[in-house]
Amino acid sequence: MSSAFNAIDCDVHPTVPDMKALLPYLDDFWRETVEERGINSLETVTYPPNAPLSARPEWRSRNGRAATAASELTAQVCDRWRAELAILNCLYGVGLLFSEDMAAAFTRALNDWVAKEWLDRDPRLRASIVIPMQNTEHAVDEIERCASDRRFVQILVLAMQETPLGRRHLWPIYAAAERHGLPLGIHAGSTYRHSITSLGWPSYYIEDYASHTQAFQSQVASLVCEGVFAKYPGLKVVLIESGVTWLPGFLWRFSKFWRGVRSEVPWVDRPPAEIVRDHVRLTIQPFDAPGDPDEVERVIDHLRSDAILLYASDFPHWQFDGDETLPAGIPAALRRRILVDNPLATYDRLQSR
């Protein structure tokens, strides 16, 4: 079956133009709330709209925005880079809201907007179910509501949350994910419950963006240590826009400490590095590559897995120039696995087109 594909793009971003776009998907109360209270935009500073990283210059339209319509995105991602399927990860800031009720309503609207304005318009598109992490019951409800639409292929949460993701009060979400064959996608970003580094607010955006990898380290440690994978052996986790090269060194330290103090977490019954290779995947942009392709090859070797990387362009974020969607130095034998085989093995729902 995999021969039918050239590539599957596991991370692309549809842009919500403003709150008006979601009004048709809200009930009267929430529509009135948006208008009466002047809620115009939920864009987040994770991607300041005009910052170079937020959209590559040539992909911005005259108003400075990129990827506000399905055709804009598929022209680049599917037509030019020959991805037969692309997974939409919508990063509109519903996850930052403090009201559980507002979060649930806006998140429902967002998922419905994605289904109607994007999935219905191009059969090559798939999407993640954004879930309201403000309330576990609401999150499970949203999974149940959307899961019957097989075009939704994973659930999506931001990397920086109020509590680490392994914590037990969140487990009903993972039970639902496992039940429906939906990987848990963790995407770069913050709900801004804490400072964006664990030592406070940095002065520069470059530091903000670098800090996401720190959250991914904490989330992997939490999911493993709390025993999520022991409880839900079918659960897969995809780290999206996480960077890649931080992973081996993190696993060395984590596995070494596990050998020293594993009696604290007796349900972690084998080295964390093994658990991560079995359950966790990473999208390939950004890779955070060393400058030299030979060094890239060495880092790939450090990962000790040909199944762990998934192709992603991260469109429209500016992670690479030209058409260099994969970092130079990826061994030829691995390319096909990254482009097609690994995404298919990760996302059960992609296999039935």
Partner: protein, 369 residues
């Protein structure tokens, strides 16, 4: 790691076969009583009544209970009944003499007043900890060099403590704990870097301490294993901050030693910062070079807890990317994750590399000879 060490079985011949070891991280233990001669009555009485308040909730002990008492090797409790690393003779027998330590840098962790909520008390305790290192340790055992413990949350008081010690070659570096209340590159800490450069002292940053903020940027983890794993992630933020804020443009002589933080994350952090700097140089016009170049030039790393990859050659790759001249051996005596100087480094390293890491790099950095 946490194994019984049997002195005498293998030490004599192996110790001779090696250059003297420069151990960059030893934790001598003092009690509050030991600091008393150097504390005013005002602060001694205060400590008796109100105790320390160190940006976490407990009067005694740690927010994340350690894996064993005082995080110390179970064989490190001295025969006199005192605390691990509180007895110099036993430390000599179990560590300094056994392994042929030529120099050791003392990084006292508590009680030192670092991170204390009250700045004046923090400064008083730092002064006392420094006097105690000289009197009870260095004076009796000159191989042990002291750290200038500083009350880093108040730069004025920290600068004063550094100036008191400037020119005193018994001190190796000015010491921070990594869990500062703000990122290390922030302007509030710059006077401390300036004073360290003026005094010709590197700045050591040892993991732990209490920031008052959650241990991760996604909140408080549940377990000690997460806390110790995440100290490297926490420090990554401060290393990025030091570079991106332009601290090394302002203080080109500044040298930072990262202690007990692991080192395998260093190259990837540099690659990530470089990648984003290339597209967003306009945000940080004060940087004249790629972030990874500041990382390569201004940072040293200590080895313990030694990185252990499933394939040992992978660690060698990382050491090469960091730079063979920047890696310093550390044992972390007497803590449970102590690295044995005889066996810690990957066996395939050449004699030249081993000598650099065990001694040459630290001698060039600290210049005690």
């Amino acid at each position: 790691m946490n194994i019984e060490v049997r002195p005498g079985e293998r030490a004599p011949e192996r110790a001779k076969a090696r250059v003297g070891i420069f151990d960059c991280d030893i934790h001598p233990k003092s009690s509050l009583e030991d600091l008393r001669p150097y504390l005013s009555n005002r602060w001694w009485d205060y400590l008796q009544t109100y105790g320390q308040r160190q940006r976490h909730g407990y009067v005694k002990g740690f927010p994340y209970p350690k894996s064993q008492p005082l995080a110390s090797r179970r064989d490190s409790w001295p025969p006199d009944g005192g605390l691990p690393a509180s007895n110099l003779d036993f430390m000599r027998q179990q560590h300094l003499d056994l392994y042929g330590i030529e120099y050791g840098v003392m990084n006292p962790l508590s009680p030192t007043g670092q991170g204390e909520q009250n700045d004046e008390l923090s400064a008083a305790m730092a002064f006392a900890a420094n006097e105690d290192q000289l009197a009870r340790w260095n004076a009796r055992e000159p191989r042990l060099k002291a750290s200038v413990v500083i009350p880093y949350e108040n730069s004025e008081l920290a600068v004063a403590e550094i100036r008191k010690r400037a020119g005193d070659r018994r001190f190796a570096h000015a010491l921070f704990l990594s869990r500062t209340s703000e990122l290390l590159g922030k302007r509030r800490y710059w006077p401390i870097f300036e004073a360290a450069v003026e005094a010709g002292l590197p700045v050591g940053v040892h993991v732990f301490g209490s920031s008052g903020r959650p241990m991760s940027n996604t909140g408080w983890p549940s377990f000690y294993i997460e806390e110790i794993t995440e100290h490297s992630a926490s420090l990554q933020a401060s290393v990025a901050s030091l570079i991106v804020e332009g601290v090394f443009e302002r203080y080109p002589e500044l040298k930072i030693v990262l202690i007990e933080a692991g080192f395998a994350w260093i190259p990837a952090l540099g690659w990530r910062l470089d990648q984003n700097w290339k597209r967003m140089k306009d945000e940080v016009p004060h940087l004249r070079r790629a972030p990874s170049e500041y990382l390569r030039q201004h940072f040293w790393v200590s080895t313990q807890p030694m990185e252990e990859a499933e394939d040992p050659d992978h660690v060698i790759d990382v050491m090469e990317w960091i730079g063979w001249d920047k890696i310093l051996f550390a044992s972390d005596y007497p803590h449970w994750d102590f690295d044995d100087p005889f066996t810690a480094l990957p066996p395939s390293l050449s004699e030249e590399r081993r000598n650099q890491i065990y001694s040459g790099n630290a001698k060039a950095l600290y210049r005690f000879d």
